[in-house]
Amino acid sequence: MDTSGRVFELWVYLSTSPLLWLTVTIGAYITAQRLAAWSGFNPIVNPVLISVALVVLILTATGTSYSTYFDGAQFVHFALGPATVALAVPLYRNRTLIRQNFVPVIVALFAGSLTAIVCATGVALLLGAPDSVAISLAPKSATAGIAVGISQQLGGDPALTALLVIFTGVLGAIIVTPLMNLLRIKNYAARGFAAGLTSHGIGTARAFQVNEIAGTFSGLAMALNGILTSAIAAIVLGLLL
């Protein structure tokens, strides 16, 4: 067999094996992280957004279907559940910090969580979206592992919610720094808390790029908002719909 025939045969084998697409996913993320560092952590250069774009580009160029891709990427995707459970660790580790800032944390948690659900659902209903779309929008500030579960249980579209969670995460991570600078807010605990509450893991990854305190409070907000959203989404939606 000639060389190009062998290369083709190897490609046919590799392109359908989980190994290739798992490697591509991690490689794309490392590349995106390098780009982010190289840009001096400019908020527009968001690592999640760039790695998704890179992978989509490669899949399109090679004509690979999402289901083939997901056979490999599912190993990374699966870790979202355990990573959500793992939020208990920073929550526990920072319990003194929570106790010291107990009132601001609780007030901002309830205010932010309610605002996220009511604002998303309310604006959607005002603009004439059907109930299923409004329900899918409601939990979008919670982390993916939680938001998708809420949407499923309340009659939303889980795939649409996944899309909205990512969209909200990336958008929040990009605008949080310029917005807070514009508002002249210098309290990094408050800035981080807002980033994590609004934009979950993607916001928290951004907050850690900016400042350690911001990152810690962001992780805290993401964990607390995940729990609170899962507890109140059904009640709030019951009142709105």
Partner: protein
């Protein structure tokens, strides 16, 4: 390995409880609370702040959380290929996400600052 095992067990129990009792709460949310209780119990039983069980779980959790961004990539790729989902309501959805993201950021940061000013919380912003 033991740290990962405990995290998975918490998620598994969460999954079993949620499905059996038909709760409107996702399993990982319950898992967070179970792991929190476990960490508390492990430290209480060892009588120290960093029991060996606690340290093992911290290692795994920190690795997972440090790389949280990459875990969203497969979902994000699926999302880009599912853009037809928002086709019918694209305008509405974009307006909703942009407005609610900005409003939520501002309300949260405002509430945090107002509450720290009113109740004179110490340590906010200068951490540890």
């Amino acid at each position: 390995m033991e740290g990962l095992f405990v995290i998975l067990v918490c998620q598994l129990i969460g999954e079993i409880v949620v499905r059996t009792l038909d709760l409107s709460m996702p399993a990982p949310a319950l898992g967070i609370m179970l792991l929190l209780a476990y960490l508390w119990f492990a430290d209480w039983r060892a009588g120290s702040e960093d029991s060996p069980a606690h340290t093992r779980i911290s290692g795994v959790a920190d690795t997972l959380l440090k790389n949280l961004g990459v875990l969203f990539v497969p979902l994000g790729v699926g999302v880009m290929q599912n853009y037809r989902l928002i086709y019918d309501y694209a305008g509405t959805i974009i307006v909703v996400v942009v407005v609610s993201t900005i409003v939520t950021l501002m309300v949260t940061v405002g509430a945090f600052l107002l509450a720290s000013r009113l109740f004179g919380a110490e340590g906010a912003g200068n951490g540890h």
